[in-house]
């Protein structure tokens, strides 16, 4: 009998553990959001987060977008040549960058750069009792550490996505006009004519969602870090894994929602 019940008990325990984890995360999410609207507001922390998440991510976002746009142009040109459709490079680069690659690449870069650093920083604060010190100094750690970072990411990552989209299209433009023989004026006109407002809006919405996910994961895993260097390492690794998977899953859900009609 035990042989039958033991695996079932394990499945039950794992399921309960997973549900408890989801519950904890949802409570964390709602508590974070509630601090957006309840004073005191830590304006300095918010602007510092804007700077570190936004401004200091510009180089990596720019380089990623530039090379992605260039590679996309080469791929579309080579693929399109199979059925005499090389001319659609500007349109496909524009739609590919703005609708999909721009937000996803920027989201993943933010997960790599911001989620990891936020998780490591907060986890180290947890391990070195800095979080406890905040509490004893009458400062709510969720309000002081989590809310400003998540709000800053939700605001600034769409801007990064917009910049990434432009640089990505520029990468495709450079490759197409310099090596594939496209006329620059025609390329730009085709890009502008083909892109719709909904493409751009959806790109920015994705950016806001991905930014929120990236910052939230870093804060959640940092706040719930285990002890010692191993705890910090595990929190950092888990936060990036969770952020990357959730960004890709959210991208699928948002694409289905925004472009299914």
């Amino acid at each position: 009998m035990n042989l039958v019940l033991s695996p079932l008990a394990t499945v039950g325990r794992k399921t309960l553990g997973m549900l408890a984890g989801i519950g904890r995360f949802i409570m964390f999410l709602f508590e974070t959001i509630s601090h957006f609207f309840r004073p005191p507001f830590y304006v300095g922390e918010f602007f510092q987060a804007l700077l570190s998440i936004g401004y200091f991510s510009l180089p990596v976002v720019g380089m990623t977008a530039l090379f992605t746009g260039g590679a996309l142009a080469l791929q579309i040109y080579a693929g399109g040549a199979r059925f005499n459709a090389e001319a659609v490079v500007p349109q496909i680069v524009a739609i590919g960058m703005v609708r999909e690659l721009g937000p996803v690449m920027v989201g993943l870069m933010i997960a790599a750069r911001v989620t990891s650093s936020v998780a490591a920083e907060i986890a180290t604060m947890r391990v070195t009792e800095q979080i406890d010190a905040l509490v004893t100094l009458s400062t709510n750690p969720m309000k002081y550490l989590t809310a400003p970072r998540v709000l800053a990411a939700v605001i600034v990552v769409p801007i990064l996505v917009g910049i990434g989209d432009i640089i990505g299209i520029a990468g495709g433009f450079l490759v197409s006009t310099e090596t594939l023989g496209f006329n620059s004026a025609t390329y730009l006109r085709n890009t502008a004519d083909f892109l719709e407002t909904t493409d751009i809006v959806s790109s920015l919405i994705k950016g806001a969602v991905f930014g929120g996910i990236a910052a939230l994961m870093g804060c959640y895993y940092g706040m719930n870090s285990g002890r010692g260097a191993q705890g910090v390492g595990r929190a950092t690794k888990s936060s990036v894994e969770a952020a990357a998977v959730l960004i890709l899953a959210a991208n699928f859900a948002l694409t289905a929602l925004l472009f299914s009609a």
């Binding site: 005191p40 604060m125 070195t128 009792e129 800095q130 406890d132 509490v135 004893t136 009458s138 400062t139």
Partner: protein, 248 residues
């Protein structure tokens, strides 16, 4: 002033506190001694609300800490953490003036900085330390900054968690003397946890011995040296043989 009554706390299967009861009168410096892992830090964190007891009550000035207004309650406390727990990203003066730059005790920035520098001087640090980052300071200096932060808002109650851990004997002596001077000067109620007997003799009005989750003994420093309690005797003389198991 601070009353712990039958406090129980377990982490999973590990029962840390098993009915700890302790009374610290106003203005007294109480030092809790006991081996590593006996629950000294947990007891202290229970008073501050950083850890919630499973059972028992904690009263500060006759008010249950679980029902007190949190901000007003914490505003009466200062705490020196074992590793100082300074905020890495903030310069020293902002660490010291943290409470004075935000919340109910907020002051203008220039005034907060002035108070921070005065508190740094009080713990023997020069004003030029104010703009340095904590990582640029030695362990002893970090402890002093932590002490300056603990006293920055003139608290009525100050907690010291292993104040001399990781310091050389001379610096440990300096910190002990500073703690004693500051507690007397401010008339604050102090609760210190340590297993450093030099600290105990320098800081304590009264001593409590925590072992096996309960307070085994309390008395003055003079009584501590005279007592026949086998736990206290084994601990203060650092004997391997006795009722306290050497391997825990």
């Amino acid at each position: 002033m601070i009353k712990l009554d039958k406090i129980h706390k377990a982490f999973g299967d590990n029962q840390v506190l098993r009915g700890a009861t302790l009374h610290i009168p106003k203005g007294e410096s109480m030092v809790i001694i006991g081996g590593s892992g006996t629950g000294k830090s947990v007891a202290l964190k229970c008073v501050l609300g950083l850890v919630t007891p499973d059972a028992g009550t904690i009263m500060v000035d006759g008010q249950d800490v679980t029902t007190a207004d949190r901000d007003a309650f914490l505003a009466r406390f200062g705490m020196l953490f074992q590793g100082a727990a300074l905020f890495d990203s903030l310069p020293v003066w902002q660490n010291v003036a943290f409470r004075l730059l935000r919340g109910s005790l907020k002051r203008p920035k220039a005034e907060a900085r002035e108070i921070a520098i005065e508190k740094l001087r009080r713990v023997g640090l020069k004003a030029d330390v104010a703009d340095r980052l904590p990582a640029e300071l030695s362990g002893g200096m970090q402890k002093r900054v932590g002490l300056a932060r603990a006293i920055a808002a003139d608290p009525e109650i100050i907690f010291f968690d292993e104040p001399t851990t990781g310091l050389d004997p001379i610096m440990a002596g300096v910190i002990n003397d500073l703690i004693r001077e500051i507690v007397v000067e401010m008339g604050a109620t102090a609760m210190t946890i340590t297993h450093d007997m030099t600290s105990v003799r320098a800081i304590a009005d009264r001593v409590a011995m925590l072992h096996d989750g309960v307070i085994q003994w309390t008395g003055t420093v003079a009584e501590m040296d005279q007592t026949a309690d086998p736990y206290v005797q084994q601990f203060i003389h650092g004997k391997a043989d006795g009722p306290i198991e050497a391997v825990r």
